[in-house]
Amino acid sequence: MAMKKKRYALVIDSRKCINCKACVVACKAENNVPIGNFRNRINEERKGEYPKLSINFEPEQCHHCADPSCVRVCPTGASWQRKDGIVLVNYDECIGCRYCMVACPYDARYFNEAEGVVDKCTLCRHRVDKGDIPACVETCPSKVRVFGDLEDTTSRVHELLSTRRYRVKEPQTGNGPQLYYLL
């Protein structure tokens, strides 16, 4: 049976992010992420002087890039990418050289000390493959993240990217990041 081509992506409305960390803990539980390591995070930018101030939050995790540098530099092919765009680590092939961590423009990977391998956001592939959405997307109180298939023209991500202005981070690295930040 010919499967329709898929391309998963996240659309992020950072303005709604209040740094509540629900996504971070949900990810930790869902993926058994060790203490001290994180697969996703919330970047924080504080500016100004009293009383003219601003704070911006920006959730970030693996961008599941179109041409991921982590996959390119991996010497054993442990870092790989599925056809639907999800970038993964094959833990049996990973030798723990950490080249991919150095090569990721988004610092999205971490080294699992206990296992000696590099690990990262899997976009909750085990949930996604069952038709669910990633844990961070699901739990978010203010629904900052929208998950979906860019190839599906009826999807919410497709709609948002067609109708709203957005940016991607660090496109100059040539990675083709697939986390879309709404403006």
Partner: protein
């Protein structure tokens, strides 16, 4: 103490590891490590209800091989808006926390020394019953104090205290939102919900809803504000996340919110922008109000609040123009000053005169759902009057909740009668009451202290016996109707069997009751109790439904305006919305809110202001390993100007002292706070070594907060402490 560390990861690893060569072992681990990522065969999904904050969101527990692997939000509950916050997600770690109380323990060293003897439940019950009986025999049943915080199983604990014969139940509201509840009750006869999902103009002060706790209000408002459907004006001496997201932020002078509100009312009435029909039909006392607020001009308020008069006028106009869909938000935990009740009353009045009552986008009286009740055998009412003399000192307050700080004063003075035994359920007075030294003194004068808790709180650390309660994921609890705009029924059922030698509160209460000769009053099981409650629910096959879904919500759109019929009787003395309150007047209080300027800190002092961050909020969660990662210790926010004057550098330790105590913590020099205040977060500096992540780390605000309370509600006033800051 010989305890087995039941960390989940460790367990999984040891389960996955097989004996063999080092490499084989590592490969074995890795195999398991991978397996942990995909669902195993025996996965169960059990709906339950979160207990980590009062919001009670619906969750679905994913259980694999007897372990709670994940909590997912349950979309069926409209009140949890298909989310779980950081704390809700981290509840798993409450179960598998190595610091947890794992068996009953009796103190063997001095109080607070931390020497414990693990005992059987029988020993613990016998010991506590003996001590309680001794106190009862010697001083009477009223010499026992029963303090607790809301929770589905709190009812059993309260009933134990009452059936024991003590009138002295003291609950958390006067450390929380009693002033709000009393002010709205006094005005509308009820505490309404705020329809933030549909409001157009919201003013918030004395609350920090995008940062301090995550509930539906947070989500509704952030959606509205960020999608430009609602405007948010926010007053706070500190630049919080809420301030960052608000349309307008004013660093108001602390304690002057009432002046701002009165000036708004002044403008609205002076310009005739109030909802005249609504005021005429549903309220009483508007004329007195109009006369009363004449003195409170925007120009006067500017001097008090430091908010420009022109902005007050503009905000008042915008607010009144939004009318039915304007809201002055009531706040949540919100007891800051000694005039807190009157400040909240003024908010209520402001809301009333723009006619947002029972309107879409306004304040909506809570819809309720019928629920069955398990009828247990009633006991004699306790005969003695309350030790905190609530009826005399705070005639309008909720007597059943008590007034905590007044109670502590009376216990310390031994008047009107001595208190010699203290039972505590799910509460940590050591950290939730100001002036920890006084609480310690109160502890010292007890003949007996028993604490029921999931973890070794600071209060438990000073107890004589601790009864380990099962975590919520290990219990079945009474059914709860959650009134609101979208009322729902939620059910908390056991997800996993207790992993330690713990018991649900009901069984702890029963164990004690049996030995106190009160067993007959608790002669039922949780299943009987729950089935009785299911009976009157408006749900077909209620029992089956609730066990399968964990929640039931009334479907369809909320119906606004049910109370907007001329013959509707508000639960007030006059049956109307009471702008002018005769009841307050009779009780000797101002019938309309009268402004008195707050005392300002002398030159070398700062006003200490407090706050919460949503991934802890309550002091009992800072030891959760998944949450602790976000903040390892609390710090003192201080504006760069005074910091420079005092030579305080960012990140250096400072001492913060008030008239009652002194603490040390790191300074955070930041422009995100007014120069006349300093700020610290609640929940650190624990004294209990079984809160290992936060033991002696950072500082507890309770140590330096002074005792002060709101005159009408008795609610603790948490922002009335002036502190000196110096390099440590």
């Amino acid at each position: 103490m010989g305890t087995i560390r039941m960390d989940r990861r460790l367990f999984l690893k040891s389960a996955g590891a097989t004996a063999g060569a080092v490499a084989a072992l590592q490969v074995g681990c890795l195999k398991y490590f991978k397996k942990g990522r995909s669902s195993a065969g025996d996965t169960k999904e059990i709906p339950t209800t979160c207990e980590l904050c009062p919001n009670k969101c619906s969750a679905i527990a994913v259980v694999e091989g007897g372990f709670v692997k994940k909590l997912n939000p349950n979309p069926e509950n409209p009140k949890s808006r298909d989310m779980l916050c950081a704390r809700g997600n981290a509840a798993i770690k409450q179960v598998y926390d190595p610091d947890r109380l794992k068996q009953p323990m009796i103190r063997v060293g001095a109080r607070g020394e931390g020497k414990w003897k693990p005992v059987s439940w029988d020993e613990a019950f016998d010991f506590a019953a003996k001590k309680l009986s001794e106190v009862k025999d010697k001083y009477g049943p009223q010499a026992s104090l029963w303090s607790s915080t809301e929770g589905f199983q709190e009812v059993f604990f309260k009933n134990l205290g009452l059936s024991f014969g003590s009138p002295n139940l003291v609950r958390h509201p006067t450390l929380c939102l009693a002033s709000v509840n009393l002010a709205y009750s006094a005005t509308f006869g009820t505490v309404p919900s705020f329809d933030l999902l549909n409001s157009k103009f919201v003013i918030m002060s004395g609350a920090n809803r995008f940062e301090s706790i995550i509930t539906p209000d947070t989500m509704d408002l952030i959606g509205g504000v960020m999608e430009r459907k609602a405007k948010l004006v926010y007053l706070d001496p500190r630049f919080t996340v809420t301030a960052a997201k608000a349309d307008e932020w004013y660093p108001i002078k602390p304690g002057t919110d009432l002046a701002f509100i009165l000036a708004m009312i002044h403008v609205i009435i002076a310009e005739g922008r109030h909802s005249k029909d609504f005021v005429a039909t549903y309220t009483t006392g508007f004329e007195q109000l109009a006369e009363h607020v004449k003195q409170y001009t925007p120009e006067w308020a500017e001097k008090e609040t430091e908010i420009p008069a022109k902005d007050i006028v503009r905000i008042a106009r915008e607010f009144a123009d939004a009318g039915a869909r304007a809201l002055y938000y009531a706040g949540r935990r919100s007891s800051w000053y000694q005039n807190d009740f009157q400040m909240r009353r003024a908010q209520a009045i402001l809301n009333a005169i723009v006619g947002n009552w029972d309107q879409m986008g306004g304040m909506v009286p809570n819809a309720k759902l019928p629920k069955g009740e398990f009828l247990f055998m009633p006991w004699d009412e306790p005969k003695a009057p309350r030790v905190d003399e609530v009826q005399k000192e705070f005639p309008l307050a909720a007597a059943g909740d008590g007034v905590y700080l007044k109670l502590r004063e009376n216990v310390l003075s031994g008047k009107p009668y001595p208190i010699k035994a203290w039972m505590v359920y799910k509460q940590d007075p050591m950290n939730s009451l100001p002036d920890q030294a006084k609480t310690l003194k109160m502890i010292e004068q007890m003949d007996f202290i028993g604490v029921i808790d999931v973890q070794m709180s600071d209060m438990a650390w000073y107890a004589d016996v601790v009864f380990p309660e099962s975590a919520y994921l290990e219990r079945t609890d009474p059914v709860e109707v959650m009134p609101g705009i979208w009322p729902a029924v939620v059910f908390r059922q056991q997800v996993v069997k207790p992993i330690h030698d713990t018991k649900p509160n009901l069984e702890i209460v029963q164990g004690l009751a049996k030995r106190l000769g009160l067993g007959d009053y608790f002669d039922y099981t949780i299943e009987q109790w729950v089935e009785a409650e299911f009976k009157d629910l408006p749900i077909p096959m209620a029992s089956e439904h609730m066990k399968k879904h964990g929640v039931w919500a009334a479907s369809g759109q909320p119906s606004y305006g049910k109370t907007l019929t001329p013959d509707h009787r508000f639960v007030t003395k006059t049956g109307k919305i009471e702008i002018f309150s005769e009841r307050l007047q009779e009780a000797g209080y101002d019938p309309l809110p009268v402004y008195a300027a707050p005392v300002q800190p002398p030159g070398d002092r700062f006003r200490l202001i407090l706050g919460r961050v949503g991934y802890f909020t309550h002091a009992n969660q800072s030891n959760n390993v998944w949450l602790h990662e976000f903040m390892k210790e609390n710090d003192l926010w201080i504006n760069p100007k005074p910091a420079e004057r005092l030579g305080i550098r960012d990140g250096a330790y400072v001492s913060v002292s008030s008239s009652v105590g002194s603490v040390k913590l790191k300074a955070r020099v930041t422009g995100e706070i007014r120069p006349d205040c300093v700020f610290m977060l609640h929940g650190f500096g624990k004294k209990s070594k079984m809160q290992s992540l936060v033991y002696n780390v950072g500082a507890s605000d309770a140590v330096i907060l002074e005792t002060a309370w709101d005159k009408v509600s008795g609610n603790a006033a948490f922002h009335e402490t002036f502190v000196k800051v110096a390099n440590a």
